[in-house]
Amino acid sequence: MELHWLPSLPDWREALRALPEDPAAAWHAAEALARTRLDFVRTNALDTALRGRPVEPPAHPLRLAVLGSCTTTHLLPAIRIGGLRRGLAIEVFEPMFGGWRQELADPASALHGFAPGAILFSLDAHHVTAGLRADMDDAAAEAELTAVSERIRSGWREARAAFRCPILQQAILPIHPPLLGCNEHRLPGSRAGFVTRLNAVLRTMADAEGVDILAVDTRAARDGVARWHDPGLWHRAKQEIALPAAPLFGDLVARWLAALQGKSFKCLVLDLDNTLWGGVIGDDGIEGIAIGQGSPLGEAHAAFQAYAKELSRRGVILAVCSKNDLANALEPFERHHDMVLRRDDIACFVANWTDKPANLRAIARALNIGLDALVFADDNPFERDLVRRELPMVAVPELGDDPALYASIIAEAGYFDTLSLTREDRERTGLYQANQAREAWKDTATDLDAYLRGLEMRLVWRRFDPIGVPRIVQLINKSNQFNLTARRYTEPEVRAVMGDPLAFGLQLRLLDRFGDNGVIAILIGRLAGDGDVTIDTWLMSCRVLGRQVEPVTLDLAVAQARALGARRLVGVYVPTARNGMVREHYKTLGFSVNGVEQDGGYRAVYDVAAHEPAPTFIETVAG
């Protein structure tokens, strides 16, 4: 079972043996190797090579505990390598075989000593169906389903109470052979039927408990259960997931950890000729290209466009990067009736004769996102190779030469795997279109004040609330540039702010004449014993820079601080690799800075009593 979207590396063996001595360089070289098509032997070899030498990952390792009912040791290297592939160092812990319940309950256990930052529950299908018999009646099978699911739920709750960390529940693998056959669902005591029902119950329960699901069941349905599970290996080593499936399993776990960190791709950049349609528009002309009904090739390209369009409807930004004359490239979008994608589905359209790495840089800049948020889909191996070499942070799937497979290749790579969907995600295309309208209008406004006044901005603020939690967590974990402390919060931690009477969490939404910008800023403050309110988190989406949101946010912070009886606001700046743009933030707002530390970080204080709201063109409303 292959990670088929990753490129093969022919001289992989030599590359592994040539890892550099320097610990930081070794990590980066290994990261590049992890982004090639590794099978289980290579995955384990890369993991062994890294564990046998000093390496220096760019950030502290995430600590993941794997609580399993059967052997999971053979899956751990693949989890670490899946993390490495995403630039994440992962430290994995496994309790004594079969002993996770005791370790969870015992504060002196090794599990508690490890103090996980994330937990994976990996329960095998034999374990959860042990109480089933084919001669059970409906009521008995139903009671067993309740008992098993409640046991799983109590495990989640215990883990959450002990560690307050995100939890991932592996769906149960459908490994049991049927007893009735196609109508297995009519046999209440069927193990196969039970697993299907339990997986449905787990999903509902997980939503209610804020737990995420590792959908190995749907993966196995696509790949074939036999690719995931070998009964021979089960009897021999109690490995429910076969070693050859480990690289994919590890990648799925790492996708979750990356999504928790807010590391996910945001934009699909599409080539045109032989990617979105068959043929070359410049040579074949609008009548000559294959798109839509009439030919299998045209239908395959249309199906790929339809997949891209669905991705954009759920929040993935689409861009075009093509070597073409602009007029030629635009023509099918504007004139061809069978095109599924239209010009206004594309947030950034680049067609010229410049090299693709330069154009990808321009696209990232225009959309105000990082290069590491781009996935580049191009049928041309030369272009793919060039982009991989010049811009290793851009994901470049091995598309192959059959457009019928493009959608599933991109889907299986999991670039856009997301834990939940926020309203902003659904409306993102609209957000970017409104932004373009704003920009166009800005060019016509005579001066800045006229522009801002004409925007008719309204800032709607609201304390953190359950409905806003997904977007709050998403913003906190993915905002890098306008983020004073870059402190990350998990969902349980955000909920803890909501319940803390000495803290406030605010979510700010900005509306204007062009539409709703969505939640664009987050503020978290906390009252300390000395009567000061420390601003733990102040972050803002870069797309509303220069719109006077900052002084209005300060007004809100002051009001909150006064309500808590504080005399001063304390702003903290913690420098990171990417937040240099806000170094002067507190100074600009009139805070006095006390001594800058060696790394450039500082604390700044602000007298709440002396605060005068700065004049802006924003109307502030509690929402």
Binding site: R13, L16, A45, A49, H74, A237
Partner: protein, 81 residues
């Protein structure tokens, strides 16, 4: 049955990858006792790597009969032709 040298070349490569030691030299008589780190876990990895490389699958009985590298090479030769 005669075992083609191609099988030993392939097995050697598998051992070098799995143990990350290019000095391992296999003979038909090599057993787990001769290779440091060759435990039951690595044994499975070796067998699975051989299955993947030659596109074959060993039965539970066949796996139980493997005592040395020669056994494995013979089993591969019998299946892969």
């Amino acid at each position: 049955m005669e075992v083609k040298s191609e099988i030993y070349v392939g097995l050697t490569e598998i051992f070098h990858d799995i143990f990350l030691r290019d000095t391992i030299a296999l003979t038909p008589a090599t057993t787990a006792a001769d290779v440091e780190g060759w435990d039951s876990f690595k044994q499975l990895e070796i067998v699975l790597a051989a299955e993947a490389r030659w596109g074959i699958r060993f039965s539970t009985r066949e796996l139980d009969r493997l005592a040395c590298v020669g056994d494995l090479a013979h089993a591969i030769a019998a299946k892969a032709g």
